[in-house]
Amino acid sequence: MKRSFAATIIMLAVSLAMSVSVAIAETIKVGAILAMTGPASFLGAPEARTLEMLAEEINAKGGINGNKIALVIKDSGGNPEKAISFAKQLIEEEKVFAIIGPSTSGETLKIKQICESGKTILLSCAAAEQIVEPVAKYVFKTPQKDSHVVHAIFESMKAAKISKIAVLASNTGFGQAGKGQIEKQAPESGIQVLATEVYDSKATDLSAIVAKLAANKEIQAVINWSVEPAQAIVLKNIRQAGWKVPIYQSHGFGNIKYVQAAGAAAEGVIFPAGRLLIADKLANKNPQKAVLTSYTKNYETKFKEDVSTFGGHAYDAFKILCRGIELAGTNREKVRDAIENLKGFVGTAGIFNFSPTDHNGLGTDSVTMLTVKGGTFVEYKK
């Protein structure tokens, strides 16, 4: 009798002490749904590593106004169904403050509504326009819009006097969104799409379809829109068939590993991307140079691999979220408002100017045309 009474007093004392210590510093739980494995792993793996690096950095400095960040990263494998279940888990069970990701457009479009109704801020690292059009209150995205990217490609083609093209796209949300943008913008840019082919994201060989396209002698250039290893495979198939046609890729080509996978077949490929990949070649007065070179240095020292634009998208998402928390504290609605009104934010993809009607914040100037020379990325000069 006496012992259990003493035990109860001790328990009450301990729980009181614990509840007091909890109230002093809040840990902000940030969820992330990334495609660390699977066909989109060249996107998700650098994104996950970047987030871990940044969270460590910020917690080492004591967090944001004393609040430490706790990352909860889930591997969706690029699979939209898994993304849906992870989104529900993060919002309902883990009650995260915000979600960064997913890595691909297909997954993001599937969880857009879930985050909106769960009133959880979503900072997507995927490119499709439909993620922010129509605008959903809580959903933002950090990569450049595919409409701007397609516009940049068409401008480059017009300068090269190319007017008849073939389009290859993967059957993912990203591929379909890109294909849609190309078909929409082609007429007004004076470009004629002679052939369109869609392939499975897991395809390991496209030589049959390349043969069919190569037989059409009118095609002056080929655009490929995907983020899978098929990006590298299609380059090899085209060159091995002896076809010397100019090849354009989407901004999904922004990881040097694709160039390494395609080897000599990647030489001369032209694609649009943010300036991260040519950070060291930028002029010193370029407003992005400081952010880009410091991210590049930290990432490459820590992980011993080259930076990619995808890691950059995760970098932007995390830094934008931190800025919002810095400005508005730990109230979700206020942070959302802060992000929505952020202007002149220097990120890796460009300079962000958010607004209630623009939840992406990037313009056509955020994209520059790059090409592959000697196995590295260089600026494309016409």
């Binding site: 793996a45 059957n171 082919e197 390991t204 043969a211 037989a215 068939a241 000599a264």
Partner: protein, 296 residues
């Protein structure tokens, strides 16, 4: 359709067809000796490629490939000894679930060892952009390597089964297990040998196709399904029929691109599998009576 286009389709079809055929033969060898459908067959192909890629860091390419084949053969034997040998007259369903489980195990182990990225062996001749003219079309020399090596494997296997003692012992086991045991053939060793043989040919196919298709930790599943389709299509148990069926499937997939959108390519092989299972389950070349005597 010009001759050039026809030849491109033909070569693409034969390349893939012969790879499917090798995987199908792998299924057949194990099925013949044990009655088991080994769904981990695709993982042997993947392991062959991955092991060879790791070994090329220390060994010259041909030695690395040879060593990889030996390593995967040992893994095949290990799989048999650990998981299959001590089972006492298991039912077909139990075996299928067990081999599916083995394939998942191997896949996850590969993910931990090699990570999620794609890798490939260097091209045997030239690099990513070398092309040679063949029959009016232009292909990478690697395509010729794939076709050549796989054809040699098929020939070597048929000679093995027909003229060597071990091959004849395995055929005896396939024909009638009880009678073979009565003749003094150690059926347990034959089972291990069949796993090693299947693993070996799968591994070699994996090495030779790696520069073209890339190797990734989950490359095995899709191949296993196509290989299984081919084995059923030809008639389960007959290796020669698997070759014919494999080439047929490869050519159908390749030429289909000229009439249906590329997105339907995988759907074609699955539709074919379903059609065969519904209308002619003993396969194109199998006989109904012989199929009735088998357990599966």
């Amino acid at each position: 359709m010009t001759l050039e286009l026809f030849s491109q389709y033909l070569l693409a079809g034969v390349t893939y067809g012969i790879i499917y055929a090798i995987v199908g033969i792998g299924f057949n060898i194990i099925y013949n000796t044990t009655g088991i459908i080994n769904f981990a067959q695709g993982e042997f192909v993947m392991l062959g490629g991955m092991t060879a890629i790791t070994l090329t860091q220390w060994l010259p390419l041909p030695v690395a490939i040879g060593a990889a084949v030996v390593v995967v053969m040992l893994i095949g034997a290990l799989v048999e000894i650990l998981f299959i040998r001590w089972l006492d007259r298991p039912s077909v369903l139990r075996m299928i679930i067990i081999t599916i489980g083995i394939s998942i195990l191997i896949r996850e182990a590969a993910l931990h060892i090699w990570g999620e990225g794609v890798r490939s062996l260097p091209y045997f001749v030239g690099n990513e952009i070398t092309t040679v003219p063949v029959l009016g079309a232009r292909v990478s020399p690697q395509v010729l390597w794939v076709i050549g090596v796989c054809t040699l494997m098929v020939l070597a296997l048929s000679l093995f089964f027909k003229y060597t003692l071990q091959g004849k012992k395995m055929q005896a086991c396939a024909a009638n297990r009880m009678a073979a045991t009565l003749c003094g053939i150690s059926t347990r060793n034959m089972v291990t040998l069949s796993f090693m043989l299947s693993a070996g040919i799968g591994a070699l196919a994996g090495c030779v196709m790696s520069p073209i298709t890339y190797t990734q930790y989950d490359a095995g599943t899709g191949l296993a399904i196509k290989g299984f389709t081919v084995a059923i299509l030809g008639g389960l148990g007959s290796s020669m029929a698997a070759v014919a069926a494999g080439l047929l499937l490869g050519l159908i997939e390749s030429f289909s691109v000229s009439v249906v959108p590329l997105a339907f390519q995988d759907a074609i092989s699955i539709t074919l599998l379903l059609a065969i299972l519904f209308f002619r389950p003993h396969g194109l070349f199998g006989s109904k009576d012989a199929a009735g005597l088998k357990e599966f």
